[in-house]
Symmetry: C2
Subunit: 305 residues, 2 copies
């Protein structure tokens, strides 16, 4: 509740807007506070929407926020760089963080709640429980990152139990992640609707990612070849090519024009099951993961007529 | 809503009581029905209590029902013989089932809801998601039943998401199970209070279990030695014995008086961490698992002054 402050000098219109929006957006750092608030929102009949993020927000995240607002009353953005989804030797420590900036961006988007817990609150000493979507986690990104999806499903389930959303939204850039989370929600009977939202791209086509920050000027320029290889795959498909090996070879040729590129995988899979047939049937998702130097980038595109 | 039935002959007092209680207790077989009902109960501000069971109810289950009623408004009993907690070669198929009897017992206890799903609804084709509490699941019962607790935690998490309880209760006979579930709830941030309820015993001391039904007359008589060995351990402890090996040897001697007994384990562990020290400190739990013929029985007792 806002108290009436008679001694305070009147705020300018702009200050006032900032003031009221500052009051409006709540930041919870403690799990029980977040749970208690979520429970009271649910009891009031309002719908909670969750946007789970690792922070360092970009237009991709903002589009998730804008999209979920359409189907809920209270938008919660979680900002948590989740250690259990990073493997040994991966970029956990250098992963970019800027909570002040994230906060401001959330405020501008009229986010209602930011949930921003510290690591020891999410994973206290002796933490011991993990969730695995078994078959879907051992393919594609799961080959080079064998513990990654277990970390993702575990933290997302925790966030679901803390934020208690009616609906949660995930970006389609992490296509396999979105499929795995849908599978977890279905298998474990979470009473939550999972939405996905299209990839947001730079003007040259590079998919937005917090990790793009790692790229030097030259690598950044070359990185567009990932998207171009996906577009090329789509063209081949639309011209009638159905042989997955041929499409993958063509894609690899393009990507390997980047001098310091190492292909992690190129896959063409069924959109729902992530299975890899020899021949594409109606539709398929082409997905790539490529190291440019030390930076691992992913991207994907739906192949359809 | 009860319709007025003018043509129906008046029910006797007893019939009437049965009739009204029959109307009162709901049985849900479908997951979305149960979830929808649970959500409406929560919104109304009432507290839901869950008693997860595998059916074939006995006084132990009934004591759980009576105990949880004290701290909730709506009591839900789930009846589901969970296949994922049975190992290969275990007694899944012959596990005793009698839903008609379970239903009657629940009705007599004024249970509000029985959740009674079929296996393909809980585990549809392609089911792929499992929850593991890692360290706690590989000891004690987890040694001879390596996939057991993964099945338990998975189904309990599913039941939590379906029944949406504020509180759930588990029997202390399955001591390790109760500890593992508490750990899962804590780690995954389920906003649910876990209670436990003391073991209910036959007059000679045998812990009630649906599996006691498997015992022939002689084995049933001999089975009391499990409890007697635990009582003996407690006496030794109270007399000052702190050496775990000595207590375990004494227990084994007693249990092996049963001609067809095979000891699965005898453990003396810290009550909260299940760790096994060399010397007992303040308190400990003595726990046994013994095959009598093909029937595996478990029991435990708190050792304290």
């Amino acid at each position: 509740m806002v108290n009436f402050l008679p001694m305070r000098s009147p705020l300018s219109k702009r200050q006032n807007a900032e003031f009221s929006s500052e009051i409006k957006m709540k930041i919870f750092e403690d799990i029980p506070d977040m749970q208690k608030f979520a429970e009271s929102v649910r009891k009031s009949g309002k719908r909670i929407g969750l946007v789970p993020t690792m922070g360092y927000l970009h237009e991709g995240h903002l589009s998730l926020i804008r999209n979920i607002r359409k189907s809920c009353d209270v938008v919660v953005v979680s900002v948590f760089v989740n250690p259990t989804q990073f493997g040994i030797g991966e970029d956990l420590n250098k992963y970019p963080r800027d909570f002040k900036r994230d906060q401001e961006l959330c405020r501008k988007e009229n986010v209602d709640i930011v949930f921003y817990p510290e690591v020891p609150k999410m994973y206290p000493e002796g933490y011991d429980t993990y969730i695995t979507v078994e078959k879907f986690s051992g393919i594609m990104c799961g080959v080079s990152r064998p513990t990654h999806f277990q970390g993702v499903t575990t933290v997302v389930a925790k966030l679901f139990n803390i934020v208690k959303p009616h609906i949660a939204i995930f970006g389609e850039k992490d296509y396999q992640q979105a499929i795995i989370i849908k599978k977890m929600v279905q298998d474990l009977n979470f009473d939550i609707v999972i939405e996905t939202s299209p990839i947001i791209r730079e003007s040259d086509g590079l998919a937005l990612s917090s990790r793009n920050k790692y790229l030097n000027k030259n690598d950044r320029k070359n990185a567009v070849l990932l998207y171009q290889s996906l577009q090329h795959a789509k063209k081949l498909f639309q011209k009638g090519e159905r042989d997955i090996l041929i499409i993958k070879q063509e894609m690899a040729k393009m990507i390997l024009q980047i001098p310091n590129a190492r292909i992690d995988y190129i896959e063409i899979v069924a959109p729902d099951t992530l299975r890899s047939p020899d021949q594409i049937q109606e539709r398929a998702v082409a997905a790539v993961a490529v190291f440019i130097g030390k930076t691992r980038l992913i991207d994907n595109l739906l192949l359809e007529q």
